[in-house]
């Protein structure tokens, strides 16, 4: 029987793609085991969605944080672009300082209103700017992320001020209508597209077959006289006391960290919360509530510094929502390098000590002057 089985040469010719994947191309003759590197596919620019002079507008309003919009705000822009036809432009009004490009998400025009980085609470002023832009552009739809960092608040203020039809906490949208969950998720309610949409996270796929024009305009915002609100500032919060889910900066240790006091000192310097991988927790070096990953906590920090963590799938699952991952590891081929935005290949102890040396005498906690 066995001679009837068709044998396959395990060392058939293969190609290595630009992404480093091994591909066997059938019918290609070549030396067995030889690898052919395919040149990087040239990234052809996506076609512009907008054709000619726009006859209408969709407006997206969002707050920038540290020069960038959140993924949630990107989704709102993509949703507005997908709702728009070829003669409708997508204009994005951004409050705060913006340094990223929004054209890949479908923004045709970006209006940057410099009103501080969202840290200063002055809703009357932002509302005045937003209402003025709505009056000027007369958008068909206003799309905003329904987020806790100010967009949901501003969106509701704007809806109340304009008195337009509005759908909040939208979980599903299409050109024909929107759906929102009612009664705590027991019911789904549908309606036609209202003038204003506040989207929950995860409604829209960010992969777009087109791009926006991405033209940028900066506007000056006059101060709002007689504001009824006064921002008294934010009291400093000790990040080490915060839950990992709430932390913005996490220093996390894995099996490669033997010297825990140095790690704690590093976390204190960066005003970071402390996380750990399962191995480090099982060893007893860290507490169970500090474990990040599938059996621990799911975090959504801006920075996650993974020190001596190889990055098992269960661990990477817990840091999926993190924006910047910095890995320090002796093994450049560890799975964490596939996820990390910056990978340092070196002994964790040496780099930690050098980081402490370079930041000696400094503390990055807000409200602490160096």
């Amino acid at each position: 029987m066995s001679e009837a089985l068709k044998r396959i040469n395990p060392r058939r010719p293969f190609q290595v793609t630009a992404e480093g994947l091994k591909r066997i191309v059938l019918g290609v003759a070549g030396e067995a085991g030889a690898s052919v590197h395919v040149a990087h596919r040239d990234a052809t620019p996506k076609p512009l969605r907008l054709r000619g002079e726009p006859t209408g507008q969709h407006l997206v309003i969002a707050h920038a944080d540290r020069g960038a919009l959140t993924a949630h705000a990107h989704e709102a822009i993509a949703a507005a672009a997908l709702l728009a036809d070829a003669a409708t432009a997508v204009t994005v009004l951004v409050f705060g300082d913006l340094s990223e490009k929004l054209a890949p998400f479908g923004a045709d025009r970006v209006i940057v209103a410099a009103v501080g980085d969202g840290a200063h609470f002055d809703p009357d002023r932002e509302l005045a700017v937003a209402a003025e832009q709505v009056a000027r552009l007369a958008p068909r739809h206003i799309v905003m992320p329904d987020s806790a960092i100010g967009d949901g608040d501003l969106g509701r203020r704007l809806a109340a001020r304009l008195g337009v039809s509005v759908a909040t906490h939208v979980v599903e949208l299409a050109p024909t209508g929107v759906a929102a969950s009612w009664r705590g998720g027991a019911e789904m309610a549908r309606r036609d597209l209202p003038r204003m949409l506040l989207l929950d996270p995860g409604t829209t796929d960010l992969a777009l077959p087109f791009s926006g024009a991405g033209e940028r305009v900066e506007i000056e915002v006059p101060p709002f006289p007689d504001s009824r609100y006064r921002d008294l500032g934010s009291p400093p919060v000790d990040s080490a006391q915060l839950g990992l889910e709430d932390a913005d900066f996490i220093v996390s240790a894995g099996n490669g960290v033997a010297d825990v006091p140095t790690l704690l000192a590093l976390a204190k310097t960066f005003d970071a919360a402390i996380g750990a991988s399962r191995v480090a927790v099982d060893d007893g070096r860290f507490a169970r509530h500090q474990q990040v990953g599938a059996t621990g906590k799911t975090v959504s920090a801006s920075v996650y510094m993974a020190i001596g963590i190889s990055g098992a799938v269960q661990h990477l699952q817990g840091i999926r929502a993190v924006r910047h991952v910095i890995a320090i590891n002796t093994d450049a081929s560890a799975p964490i390098a596939q996820r990390a935005d910056l990978t340092i290949v070196d002994d964790a102890q040496a780099v930690m000590e050098q980081l402490l040396e370079a930041t000696r005498g400094r503390n990055f906690a807000p409200g602490v002057t160096p």
């Binding site: 949901g152 599903e172 829209t204 990390a340």
Partner: protein, 254 residues
């Protein structure tokens, strides 16, 4: 506390038990009621809806002493009905979302806009002053912000505010309801159609217009992953590379 007692209104909606589906006081509004009770002052609960709902009595058990009821048919405009009873209050508190119906979180904003009052949302603590009140807002990532806002004002309470409403049956028996005349309002047909919730909402994505060849390519070629890898140099250089990355993306103040 000032000599004259402050007049405080708490907007109360009817909630719904997520398991049994029975009517109950709205969780978020109970937090607003508890915060208002801690402030002292002259407290009134205001509800717009069905006057025969027995679950409203539970609000008394949680500490309200009087309830102003504006009769409103199902699907009526809650904000306009509430506004008819809201004149002369120094502070109007509300929960962030209702759990019994639409739960849009818009009512406090509509009330504030109609009355021309300032509104602060996501509030976890309130200190009353003479002409202004100081509130603490809960922001994302565990941050807090203190805001001073002129009185009268509307305040929406953070859904995870650290107050615990307590139930006492004796208070439930002592509460009294004042039912007002239903405001004359044209019934408006709701644009919403309700249905049982599906398993998962469908994501909004671009229509697939790629050729078969392009689709095959995108299926076999994984997205480019991984960022910069720094293997050469001394540990000191590498530490500087990390700090440069953090500075470049404005993640630390340097």
């Amino acid at each position: 506390m000032t000599a004259t007692a402050r007049r405080i209104a708490v907007l109360a909606a009817l909630g719904r038990n997520p398991v049994s589906g029975k009517a109950r006081p709205n969780r978020d509004d109970l937090l607003a009621l508890e915060l208002a009770r801690q402030l002292g002052g002259d407290l009134t609960l205001i509800h717009a809806g069905n006057p025969d709902e027995a679950a409203l009595g539970d609000y008394f058990a949680y500490g309200a002493s009087s309830l102003d009821l504006v009769p409103l048919a199902d699907g009526g405009d809650v904000a306009s009905a509430l506004v008819t009873r809201l004149a002369g209050y120094d502070l109007i508190l509300a929960g962030s979302r209702a759990e019994g119906g639409e739960g849009s979180g818009l009512v406090p904003y509509l009330v504030a806009e109609t009355l021309g009052l300032p509104i602060v949302a996501d509030v976890i603590a309130i200190t009353l002053g003479d002409e202004a009140t100081e509130v603490t807002q809960a922001l994302a990532k565990g941050q807090r912000r203190r805001v001073r806002v002129t009185l009268p004002a509307v305040i929406a309470v953070y859904p995870k505010a650290l107050v615990t409403p307590r139930y006492a049956y004796a208070r439930r028996l002592a509460g009294r309801v004042t039912t007002y005349v239903a405001p004359a309002m044209e019934p408006v047909a709701s644009p919403w159609h309700r249905e049982a919730a599906k398993k998962r909402p469908v994501k909004f994505r671009a229509a697939e217009t790629k050729s078969g060849h392009a689709r095959m390519l995108s299926a076999i070629v994984a997205e480019a992953r991984g960022g910069a890898v720094i293997a050469a140099g001394t540990p000191a250089d590498k530490a500087q590379a990390i700090l440069a990355y953090l500075r470049l993306h404005k993640l630390i103040d340097w």
